[in-house]
Symmetry: C2
Subunit: 204 residues, 2 copies
DNA sequence: CCCGAGCTATGACAGATGTCACTGTTTTTA
DNA sequence: TAAAAACAGTGACATCTGTCATAGCTCGGG
């Protein structure tokens, strides 16, 4: 019997999924959490064979939970179940040791087999998901430097160059250069697109 | 026994929800559809006491289904179940005769009682939802017009004015005016801030 | 020790953006 | 029907943005 922790914020989805999975004789949802903090508390108190993690949640999101688990040395296998095909979140999740990443539109049988595979020590990625990985592999040198990260953060708060310059104690020209660099790395044409990408891909 | 049609695109959510609802002795999910077109086909062939409609779907979304139902004179009561608190969609849905509008984070018991109320001929709106209605009533001048909505949507996709103008078949100057108006209504200083606000407040 | 990477800065430039004032047309509504 | 919105457009203007070339500084690794 596979002992599962199910973490998902929407009550209906969580209860429904728990019900469905419990129908499988090999799977038992032993605990449920509706946000990241609850999940961490449950992980600290009990041991599970696998944690099924939603990404987008209030309080502490899926990545946050993974991060904390790694900090605490928690080795519970994690299968990410999310609505969104997001390359960067995927990469971050895998780097934080997630063992699987599937989209919510998966078929029930596939999900069940994914759970069993992860528990068996395998890695599970949907093909839609591996495509992204490949794309990422092919174009590496796109990492933002610390300063660029900082500037991107400011952009994401809606600051114009002048304000960023004052805040970071730089000249406006310098900030313009950084912004220009960021746009090139993110492969977008203006700050608005950069912010959209940053928000969607959790770069901030 | 209440005969239900359940329309929801994500397999896991749909099956889970069907299972949960069927646990209630008064409710029976008689048919399921995974997009709007399937839903219409089922509605044409069978009769239901209530249709549970997701909003965001491929092929034909919830509003589209409602629209078609009204055109055909289909009086099946509709309860909208959606993830998003979206003022305009809510208003449109109600205008198209939806009898209830609840968010997916509703508790199971509440959902069940909402279904029973709708079947009994009542109207069901969550308080989170009526708040929006009130806000709309109280500050009409801050409401975006349809066109402004459209433009904001384009902004949120990162389009520059020139592209928006071409897409909407307007002059660039007109788009500039609309953008200017949007900025004023959202009380922000540039398009980037507008997009941030739109994303955060689910205005899109 | 030198090279490269990251950070800073400047100036010049083209284009994009946002504001304003003003003019119409159409549609809604009171 | 008359007033009020929404919609479309223009031209002028100031400012913001993004690009490019160039150059100096510092620091860590080979």
């Amino acid at each position: 019997m596979i002992k599962c922790l199910l973490v998902e914020d929407q009550t209906l989805v969580r209860l429904g999924l728990a019900n469905l999975l419990n129908l499988d004789s090999a799977i038992n949802i032993e605990a449920q959490a509706e946000d990241g903090l609850q999940a961490l508390a449950l992980l600290a108190e009990h041991s599970f064979d696998i944690a099924l993690l939603d990404m987008r949640m209030p309080n502490l999101d899926g990545l946050g939970v993974l991060q904390k688990m790694r900090e605490k040395g928690d080795k519970t296998p994690v299968l990410i179940i999310t609505t969104f095909e997001d390359c960067d979140v995927l990469v971050k999740a895998l780097n934080l040791g997630a063992r699987g990443y599937v989209l919510k539109n998966i078929e029930l049988e596939e999900l069940i087999s994914a759970i069993k595979q992860v528990v068996a020590g395998e890695r599970v990625l949907q093909s839609a998901v591996t495509d992204f990985l490949l794309k990422k592999q092919l174009s590496p040198q796109l990492c933002l430097t610390d300063k660029e990260q900082t500037v991107l953060q400011c952009l994401s708060l809606g600051m114009p160059n002048k304000v960023i310059a004052k805040k970071l104690d730089n000249s406006e020209g310098t900030i313009r250069n950084h912004v220009s660099q960021i746009l090139a790395k993110l492969d977008v044409k203006d700050r608005t697109q950069a912010v959209i990408k940053a928000i969607n891909q959790n770069l901030i």
